[in-house]
């Protein structure tokens, strides 16, 4: 234990003495947390529209006005040629070319069927889906609205329709910040933890300082513990600061127990840092170590359900998530913080994380050799 204390003292001195690294370790993650959490949304803001109105009637203008009034659609330009719209889509100036056919007013008034065309830039499929959804709803509403003015007799009949009442539980305003902040915090803390621990041992090897340690009677587990603990403490510290920002800055409700969360975080950090140290023991240069750590991190993040739902992934990819500690902890964070899940709901995930610790730490200790074979 005493040996570990001296190692800890040394690591902390080195970390706090490296003036270039301090802001990267402590400041950068917090800035990213605050800034980037706002970026992660599919929310439809304002779609730039090219209008092709072949009818140019009061009714068609009314439809256009209604669409603009929702705030989702912004008429950027108009012409009498759909190809203009397509061209503007090519240079990414608009996302939607709205085409209102000839005789639109006449058909609407006479009760004949008519069709409005939405030409959507579908490169981004989910945005395209939203544009389509909003567009359809507005046009449907419009259709219902204009009918009664025209056909009083059929009014009753026309009004018939299904009344869709949406409700969004747990997050009625669809506030994505609440959802993203905990996830992004997990990613930032994991990244710092894994990169720092991943570089650490291999750095000492590259510089040569590990030589002097290796001729001492230090035990392998002491060495690994001395390397792990500083980053574990820093990781927990950053998590606490991040949670404070989430609570005070973003007003994120802490529905569940924060203590439970921190306890699980303690286990989780052992996993990511264990992986980092393991990488550090199997590589010979910092460059190699960082590449592997970076690769793992990108896979963990992009397949961790942070940005794209795990449920949308194909079955085999969902199965792979079992090995992704980041995915588990993001899930736990969201469950505990947002839904108030307790020990009963998260225990199987904690079990998996614990199993990972039990595998990766001994592996790191085993792989760390004081001598070369």
């Amino acid at each position: 234990m005493r040996t570990i204390k001296f190692l800890l003292q040394k690591e902390f001195l080195q970390i706090f003495r490296n003036k270039g690294m301090l802001p990267i370790i402590f400041l950068m993650p917090m800035i990213q947390l605050v800034v980037l959490s706002f970026a992660a949304t599919f929310e439809l803001k304002e779609v730039d529209v090219h209008l092709v109105d072949f009818d140019r009637s009061a009714t068609s203008r009314a439809l256009v006005t209604k669409m603009q009034a929702t705030g989702y659609f912004n008429i950027q330009s108009h012409s009498q040629d759909v190809d203009d719209g397509i061209r503007m889509m090519r240079s990414n100036d608009i996302q939607l070319a709205l085409v209102i056919p000839q005789h639109f007013e006449r058909d609407v008034t006479s009760g004949s069927p008519t069709s409005v065309q939405l030409n959507i830039d579908a490169v981004d499929g989910s945005t395209a889906g939203l544009i389509q959804g909003y567009g359809r709803s507005i046009i449907q509403d419009f259709s219902v609205e204009v009918q009664p003015q025209i056909k009083q007799i059929q009014q009753q009949r026309r009004r018939a329709g299904i009344n869709i009442i949406p409700a969004n539980w747990y997050n009625p305003n669809l506030d994505y910040i609440k959802y993203m902040v905990p996830g992004i915090l997990v990613v930032l803390v994991s990244m710092i933890g894994m990169f720092l621990s991943g570089m650490n041992i291999v750095r000492e090897r590259e510089i040569g300082t590990i030589e002097q340690l290796n001729v001492t009677p230090i035990k392998r587990y002491q060495f690994i513990a001395g390397k792990l603990l500083p980053f574990w403490i820093i990781g927990l510290f950053e998590l606490v600061v991040g949670l404070l920002i989430a609570r005070l800055g973003f007003n994120i409700p802490f529905v569940g127990s924060v203590l439970l969360l921190l306890a699980i975080a303690g286990i989780y950090l052992l996993v990511v840092e264990g992986i980092g140290l393991f990488i550090s023991t199997i590589t010979s240069t910092q460059q190699q170590a960082m590449f592997i750590a970076w690769f793992l991190m990108v896979v963990f993040i992009l397949m961790g359900g942070l940005f794209t739902p795990i449920e949308s992934m194909p079955g085999w990819a969902q199965d792979l998530t079992l090995f992704n500690p980041v995915a588990h902890f993001i899930k736990i964070m969201r469950m505990v913080l947002l839904k108030g899940a307790g020990w009963a709901e998260v225990q199987h995930l904690v079990g998996i994380l614990t199993l990972m610790v039990v595998i990766i730490l001994p592996a790191a200790i085993f792989r760390y050799r004081k001598s070369t074979g």
């Binding site: 040996t3 003292q9 040394k10 080195q14 040569g208 002097q212 001492t216 009677p217 004081k370 001598s371």
Partner: protein, 247 residues
């Protein structure tokens, strides 16, 4: 194993692929002896030391250090030895004192003990003035002194010094050797490699390595006589002439 012997090597060999960096060397070092380990660059000195101190596994042969087997008891050996590597390997972003405290702690010295021992070493090597300076900012000679202090900190039975005086000014070299003598008088066995042939004269016995083999081993006087040379340098040149690996 002979209890009287500090180091015993028997046909000790290390191969890297087909290349035998150290080729069946055998020698014995008695307790309290200053044993000079000479050889040109690439002769295999450092590889031999690394095997003895448990940083590198031998390919074949036998060796024991402080009565412990290098294959099976490397960790026990590490408790008995001190080591100063050829390449400076202390933390340059820590101060002199912080480095000493770290290694004192790892060797299990008590806080008081570390302090006392550090004072003693720092004063005898005239390092007190830089006690709280980061090593990165110190000139090479001072770094070497500190590396030596760390190697001696826990009063090891045997100390391995790999080129301790490389790139060091004559006055510091002088200080070093005074320390080495003092350590030997107190019963520490000193295993030292060096480039400086005049330093070889300070050793009790000297071995000369050429191409991974020990070509000569005797007292300095014995070597001079056997090769009918005026000094060790001539002996060395005589032996090294036939080397393949010399730079």
């Amino acid at each position: 194993m002979n209890e009287e012997l500090a180091i015993q090597a028997n046909d000790l060999t290390r191969k890297f692929g087909d290349f035998a960096a150290v080729d069946q060397i055998s020698f014995e070092v008695s307790q309290g002896e200053i044993f000079g380990f000479l050889g040109a660059n690439g002769a295999g000195k450092t590889t031999a030391i690394r095997m003895l101190i448990g940083l590198l596994a031998p390919t074949s042969g036998k060796a024991s250090v402080a009565g412990f087997d290098v294959y099976t008891q490397a960790e026990a050996i590490k408790r008995k030895i001190g080591y100063m590597s050829q390449k400076f390997s202390l933390y340059t972003d820590l101060t002199v004192w912080e480095n000493i405290r770290l290694y004192g702690g790892i060797y299990g010295l008590s806080e008081d003990n570390i302090k006392a021992k550090a004072e003693e070493l720092l004063s005898s090597l005239q390092l007190e003035s830089v006690r709280d300076k980061r090593i990165g900012s110190l000139p090479l000679g001072w770094k070497q002194k500190l590396a030596f202090s760390v190697a001696m900190l826990h009063e090891p039975d045997i100390v391995f010094l790999d080129e301790p005086t490389g790139g060091v000014d004559p006055i510091t070299r002088r200080q070093f050797w005074e320390q080495i003598y003092q350590a030997a008088e107190e019963g520490t066995t000193v295993f030292v490699t060096t480039h400086y042939m005049d330093e070889a004269e300070y050793c009790d016995r000297v071995s000369i390595m050429v191409d991974g083999k020990i070509e000569a081993l005797d007292t300095p006087a014995g070597l001079r006589q056997a090769y009918q040379a005026d000094d060790i340098e001539d002996v060395f040149i005589e032996l090294a002439r036939g080397a393949d690996r010399a730079e």
